[in-house]
């Protein structure tokens, strides 16, 4: 009776452990095959170049367009239509909401050898939404590639005026996946701050779609969008980034793919993340240090004054 009781407890424990293991596996970001698949995907991505502050206060930000894993000759990819959307926001901030739809205007792509570059130049503090689109058609299959990013440029030229006078791009221009982030225009994207990513195809949200995060400091991780086509992501604290300056940033790439018939849609979003400004503030430690110093100093002064008075 006792033996069988023990066996029962043992089996129950075993089942519990197995159940917990399964639960843990389900909760963990999907890795392995999904990540490998994401790494093999053809994709476009925007890579930030080094920002240059010109003497007149204008700031120049070069953005390189990288095209990777495209089957066949990648030069066949039509990169001729690259556009930049200018966000008409009065200020940057987490509370600023984008109420009007973004107006995208075309900007020329500079091609030097195998390098494709966009140069954003402004004398004002501005935020830009950049969207790059490309298509590759081979053996009856079409690959729609999209790369997006939101950049923040702090131009300081006196009397600078708004740029990009080109006409707005028509709605028909938009093809491929959209990967929007929320909050979209906080001027200081930083680690340990949650944001949401929504994956859409022609305004239709895509649930259960894999989204892989490529962060140079951590192994790639894949997540699945929920029924609203969203994932909530918190970029982890990065000790490597913390050691750099406050203005230093790392680039994180979010890649998502969706297949519909013979068409493959791949979207990439580049995030330029700074280290978190406030998460390392230890108020307990600060108050303790302040209190200890004040107590020691105050005590010393009182002791010295008393000693002098006695003398």
């Amino acid at each position: 009776m006792i033996k069988s009781g023990r066996a029962l407890i043992f089996r129950a424990l075993l089942c519990f452990v197995l159940f917990m293991l399964v639960l843990l596996m389900l909760m963990m970001p999907q890795s392995g095959l999904a990540v490998d698949a994401a790494m093999q995907l053809p994709y476009l991505r925007i890579v930030y170049g080094e920002e240059q502050a010109l003497p007149d206060g204008t700031v120049l930000l070069p953005l390189e367009i990288h095209c990777e894993n495209v089957p066949g000759n990648y030069r066949r990819v039509n990169l001729s239509v690259v556009t930049v959307g200018v966000a008409s926001l009065p200020a940057f901030g987490p509370s600023v909401q984008q109420t009007k739809p973004l107006v995208y205007r075309s900007i020329s792509v500079i091609r030097t050898g195998d390098k494709w570059t966009i140069q954003l130049c402004t004398g004002l503090p501005r935020s830009f939404a950049v969207r790059v689109q490309a298509q590759s058609a081979a053996s009856g299959k079409t690959i729609y590639l999209t790369a997006e990013t939101n950049c923040f440029i702090f131009g300081r030229k006196r009397g600078a005026k708004a740029e990009f006078k080109a006409d707005a791009l028509p709605p028909a221009w938009f093809s491929g996946l959209d990967m929007s982030i929320d909050p979209p225009f906080y001027y200081w994207p930083q680690t340990e701050t949650p944001f949401q990513v929504t994956v859409r195809l022609r305004a239709r949200v895509l649930p259960k779609t894999a989204l892989t995060v490529f962060d140079g400091s951590f192994p790639p991780a894949t997540y699945l969008t929920d029924s609203a086509g969203r994932i909530a992501y918190v970029p982890p604290d990065d000790p490597k980034l913390n050691r750099l300056s406050e203005t230093a940033a790392k680039q994180v790439f979010l890649v998502s793919a969706y297949k519909e018939g013979n068409d493959l849609f791949v979207a990439t979003r580049t995030l330029r993340l700074h280290r978190n400004r406030l998460s390392h503030f230890q108020s307990d430690m600060g108050m303790a240090l302040f209190g200890a110093t004040a107590t020691i100093t105050g005590g010393t002064v009182i002791w010295a004054r008393r000693r002098r008075r006695r003398a």
Partner: protein, 315 residues
């Protein structure tokens, strides 16, 4: 109303304006010659020291860019500071500076508690005088090192990082966030720990000694450079001085030179805060006087000194 009460009223008024004025849309620029701390959300203006560290010599602006439009902008900020300094000189310290007002309030609490002010010897006072110039030199040199020698960016705004006004003044806007240690990396940990230690030292110092921080204030050092050209003058009539040394005893920053001066008429010393306490305590008519351009702001009088003495006795 005597000059002490008038000054207290002005100090409180400017404290409210500078700390909360931004909430009412007041923008006085970032070139104020007083500790209107930019870390206070909703402040009306910003202390010039931040602009000095950040823009004029700092990492954002290499020396070659001085003759460009950005250089012009920095020059405009400096011009704003210079004009305000020439216009009001040390009045900024004695009558307007919010951190000075806070120091006076802490000293008033000490007096109410019946605790005597700590006395320093002349040697100690003289030894501490150069410290503010060292702070001023460091806050100019460190940003240059960041810009040109690759010193880590986390040393940016070196003085602001350790300035006691940074954690203390935001308390009046309900922000206790700067009473903390930033453990992001070794430099931030060191700088914020140093800030906490210095804040504690200065607050304790302010309690036991009138205007303790002003002895070390780099902004006072900067203002005093332009004293000679300013519109505010502090003069002494050597012939009528009876050598009572009231001016020396009453001075919150222990200035001896006003009492000791026997040759020159101009007695504005680099440490003077233009609080006018000395002129108020001087018992001889017209011996000590503060002028603005050619108008007299305040002059000493026997009646005034007696009133002050009577006031102190009654308290």
């Amino acid at each position: 109303m005597n000059i002490t009460n008038l000054r207290a009223a002005f100090q409180l008024l400017f404290f409210v304006i500078l700390i909360y004025g931004g909430r009412a849309g007041l923008r006085l620029g970032h070139f104020l010659p007083c500790f209107s701390c930019p870390y206070v959300s909703g402040c009306a203006g910003q202390c010039y020291l931040m602009a000095l560290q950040n823009s004029f010599w700092g990492m954002e602006m290499p020396l070659a860019a001085i003759f460009t439009s950005r250089g012009l902008e920095a020059l405009l900020v400096f011009t704003g500071f210079l004009l305000l300094t020439l216009l009001l000189g040390k009045i900024w310290c004695g009558w307007i500076c919010p951190f000075g007002t806070l120091q006076d309030c802490i000293a008033a609490v000490r007096r109410k508690l019946g605790i005597r002010e700590s006395q320093w010897s002349w040697v100690q006072t003289d030894r501490l005088k150069p410290v503010k110039y060292v702070f001023l030199a460091l806050l100019l040199v460190i940003p240059l090192f960041i810009a040109h020698t690759g010193l880590h960016d986390d040393f940016t705004l070196p003085f602001c990082q350790i300035c006691p006004a940074k954690p203390v003044l935001p308390l009046f806007a309900g922000n206790t966030g700067y009473f903390s240690v930033d453990t992001t990396n070794t430099i931030t940990t060191f700088m914020t720990s140093l800030s906490m230690v210095l804040t504690a030292l200065f607050l304790v110092g302010m309690f036991f000694k009138d205007r303790f921080f002003c002895v070390f204030c780099p902004l006072l050092a900067l203002i005093s450079i332009f004293d000679k050209f300013g519109l505010v003058r502090f003069s002494k009539n050597i012939k009528t001085c009876n050598g009572c040394a009231n001016c020396q005893r009453i001075c919150p920053v222990d200035i001896r030179s006003v009492h000791m001066e026997t040759l020159q008429q101009n007695v504005m010393s680099p440490e003077c805060l233009a609080c006018m306490k000395c002129a108020e305590a001087c018992p001889t008519d017209g011996t000590l006087s503060f002028q603005w351009f050619k108008w007299t702001l305040f002059t000493s009088s026997f009646a005034g000194a007696i009133r002050k003495l009577a006031g102190r006795r009654s308290r």
